[in-house]
Amino acid sequence: MRLARLGDQVQKIRSKNAGPFWLTIDIFCGSQEAYEAIVATLPTSRVAQTFGTSLQNIKRFDISQLHVVKFSLPRPTVQGAPNDRDMHGASWAALLSDIDL
């Protein structure tokens, strides 16, 4: 049984390019309660592991007024490079949604 899939605990997770070289992921928690739960249970190291990058590459913003946890990281591949799979960085949110906390 899956206990707590991240995507099921929050309102929405969105990923997008922040320019061709960076990816940014916004977790809209939807409530103060959900926000506090995510801040308490989602370590940045887990995000680094999910995206196959190192902890020091990840910028994290816990924004309580918006109930948002935001992560920015170097794009797994530069946008539009021959090995890039996702021109707008739109799908990466789904990878994070699928992790269990």
């Binding site: 320019g19 809209f28 999910t50 918006l66 170097p74 946008q79 021959p82 021109m87 789904a94």
Partner: protein, 451 residues
Amino acid sequence: MTRVLVPSGALGLNYDKEALRRGIAAKPDIIAIDGGSTDSGPSYLGRGVSKYARSSTKIEWAGLMEARAEAGCPLVIGTAGTCGADSAVDWMLDITREIASEQGRPLKVAVLRSSQSPVDVAQAFLEAKVAPLANAPEISADLIRNCTNIVALAGAEQIDAALATGADIVIAGRTTDTAIIAALPLREGCHVGGAWHGAKIGECGALCASNPQSGVILVDFDKDGFTVTPLADGAHATPHTVSAHMLYENSDPFILYEPGGYLDVTDATYDAVDQTSVRVSGSKWVPSDQYSVKLEGARPAGFQTVLMALLRDQHYVANAQRWADDIVEKCSAKARDRLNLTAADFQIEIRLIGQTASFGDLESNQTTPPEVGAIGIVTAKSEALSQEIGQLLNPYLLHHPLTAEEEQPTFAFLFSPAEMYRGQTYEFALNHVLHLSDPMEAFKLEVHEIG
């Protein structure tokens, strides 16, 4: 007070005509619209062309030119033709001339050019005037000279120079998304932090409000901050929708770098004026000692041919990765052997749609789908070679068995011919800034009388 009307997040995305009429009735001081971004990938900059259809661009631009005439204010487009290279600016100028003569209205058009000579940028690099941003690729003077197009992102200073010509219309090459909105409020002495912050909130049109597809918004700038109002029926800005827009496509939701400094919104406050409008104040502008503009460049990245096959047989669906790896190995060996190539001359990749096409090795979901799309991607140093290797790959995607013992399988091809030629591809080559001694040093300004 300076009133800026933003019809939508980009020319080509359409706008709500009724909302635009309301905007014109509100007597804006300027109409500002973005014409592009890097978001659609390096090919547009590499080729110097627009992503949006000419017909669509012309219809929407003609509507804005009519609106401008009615409002009696300047109309400015930034990053014209998606990439903002000189060729895309010329495309936009050509469309503008056509419309001006059709509308029977003489106009003064200022054209701001942002294209950079790769040879000059390479020289600036050798003189240490080009500096890397975070996660910038390694570059060299040769790599810079290899770019087919390089643009510099103009800021408010260059847009201000274009407005100072008294032009009815400004067609700007690559600019920051915010510069076209911030320039006039800054010129008229509005709050500097508020000008940049309001420009960032406004640059995607109504994306900062509910009913984001409606496009049209008004941003009123003054001595202390700004007020944003979406104009479509049913569109509302709230402190939440407006402050949340700082998250969008920004790696840092509080800091935004621009030519000549940065915007800091850490202490900004967002207050509802009524059901529709939001008032923002407390944004800070921090000027920098060095005036720098960001560079974007695209260079050739090989020629591509793509093929696609569908796997529906469950034996093959379950073993698709092994099947694909085997094809890549055998077909690459055949290409090296028959065409006398080295590994550096080409690459064959197969992505499995339905399994790992999105995330590759990072995919965690291992469920078996009913079918898998196998997309074969050949990238080679010449067009002829990419086509030749595409044809070598064709029979593998059609008939390759998992083992020599089993009956020869046949997979579904979608098209005849199966090979889709994508031609020259490009890649982004620069994530750097260029230091300038004068903001206009890297830009050219022209004035045209048309219509």
